[in-house]
């Protein structure tokens, strides 16, 4: 039995290793193509901007030109003001565009945007490939939606006003988990794509 168990563990480890390797192959393959690069860039940037807009860190205001930084930005940057939300340390106004700079949120938004972009790039390249590995090109975008919603959870769950639902303890708890859920969903879809790639390589 121990031999069987060891063999089973070795098999599982090999499968996981193969999954990650194939996902890596899928990502690098997608990014070697022009259409893959375009999808990563366009949708990554679009998601990043939407995420900041959801936080209300990005939007339009009275036209002006201004860059201002709070007095103790390094300390302020780590002050949490909500679930996965941190204190802005600067305000940048360029014409009608206003941007609040919260470094940790920009970093988080960047990671999420990269994951969304990679999902889409790989999905689209795979969709354009052989029939055996055709994937829904919306998979990456759908998995990124919770991250966008989490941005609206600041200053009270005002998004619920739009939806027309009253807040409850359960709903508010859900908001706190939107972002981790996003990361898991995005990584999950990316690995799923990796598993599909393996199919392609085994079927001549």
């Amino acid at each position: 039995m121990s031999t069987d168990g060891s063999t089973h563990k070795t098999g599982a480890a090999a499968s996981i290793q193969r999954l990650f390797r194939n996902t890596g192959v899928a990502v690098s393959g997608a990014l070697s193509r022009r259409d893959g690069q375009v999808f990563l860039g366009v949708f990554g940037v679009a998601y990043f901007l939407l995420y900041l807009a959801g936080l209300r860190h990005l939007g339009f205001g009275p036209p002006a030109y201004e860059i201002s930084v709070v007095s103790d930005p390094l300390t302020r940057a780590f002050r949490q003001v909500g679930p996965f939300q941190w204190e802005p340390v600067a305000l940048v106004v360029v014409g009608p565009v206003e941007l609040l700079v919260a470094p940790l949120n920009m970093l988080l938004g960047g990671v999420l945007a990269a994951l969304v972009g990679l999902n889409l790039a790989v999905s689209v390249v795979a969709w354009r490939g052989p029939a055996a590995c055709r994937l829904g090109s919306g998979a990456g975008v759908v998995s990124g939606l919770p991250g966008l919603l989490s941005g609206f959870a600041c200053c009270g769950p005002t998004i619920l006003l739009v939806v027309g639902v009253q807040a409850s303890a359960g709903l508010l708890s859900l908001f706190q988990w939107l972002l981790p859920l996003t990361v898991v969903a995005l990584l999950g879809t990316l690995l799923w794509v990796g598993s599909r790639v393996e199919t392609v390589r085994q079927v001549p």
Binding site: P83, A90, L91, E98, P103, G156, P157
Partner: protein, 371 residues
Amino acid sequence: MRISRRRFLATVGAGVTLGGAGCVGDDGATAGAGSEPDSSTGTSAASTATDRNDRPEPPTADSRLHLDYETGTLEEHIVSGGVPKDGIPAIDDPTFADTPPDGLAPDDPVFGVVRDGEAKAYPQYILVHHEIVNDTIAGDAVAVTYCPLTGTAQGFERGPVEFGVSGRLVNSNLTMYDRGTDSWWPQMLATAIKGPLTGESLREFRVTWTTWSHWSSVYPETRILTEDTGFSRRYGVDPYGQYNEKRGYYSSTRTLFEPLHGDSRAHPKVVVIGTRTETGALAFDKETLLNQGVLTGRIDDTPYVAIADTDLASGYVYANPESMSVAASDDGYMIDGTAYDADSLPLDRTLSFDAMWFAWAGFYPGSGYVN
């Protein structure tokens, strides 16, 4: 390029890369719950805060304000507002100017305070991002507070402590905490429902909800809170809607959180001028008051009269136990053949403030509603 005037901010060049990213009392010294110190003279000096277990405390009233619920019941209804303690940061180092911020339109709402002849205005569009201003007016340590979800602006003596935003709500209302004892104070109740000071009521003073044009006309020498708050915020953006013209949450029939008690006598967001004493609560429809000038109601068997102040588009509430006749005239308000200004009737004025109806009725289901 307009350079920010923010005192706390280090202005940097456009080419610089960012490196990282709550009786007109005889002496005013011991104002009781529900009574209103003379805000124009500021005679309600805060009492010396006592230390229980060496913790500084906010000064409290001699008697507790009326509650329609037990404090334990209210505590059970505390809910998370979706942000942590101080996630909405109070302004602890406010700065003021003689001229209004660029972002303030004449018809935008401001919260006005006058103490000992010193007038200050706090723009709603700034307080919606902070909810509490720990300030000093005419030498008195005070907190000017605003809850966007219940549409209430109220003032409290704070003594040696500051107030912060707990991140929790009761009946959609801002629940403050004092940074001395960590007691929790729903703003509208002005009474602690959790912590060492449970059951105590804060000392309150009048905050007038009006517009900048009204306030600056009546108090041209007023100073006004600036955007130099110590925080980076997009102050032009109100997460809940707008007041000038009313939109979003401020006009919707919807509430974000279920009220403690539903009441269909009025639209949930209709503005009432409410007053509560040691024995009960009473609300007057603000629009009706401003149109008619005088409204009357009762708390238990005691008559009260509400008077409109057209200069400030606001109102005052007085206890009128003798049921004296009050009539609006071109010269003011007539009592026994003498004309008085709205804020100086020869009656005991009770503290009153604007509130959304759903919030008032939620906290005070036994309250009368006069319209």
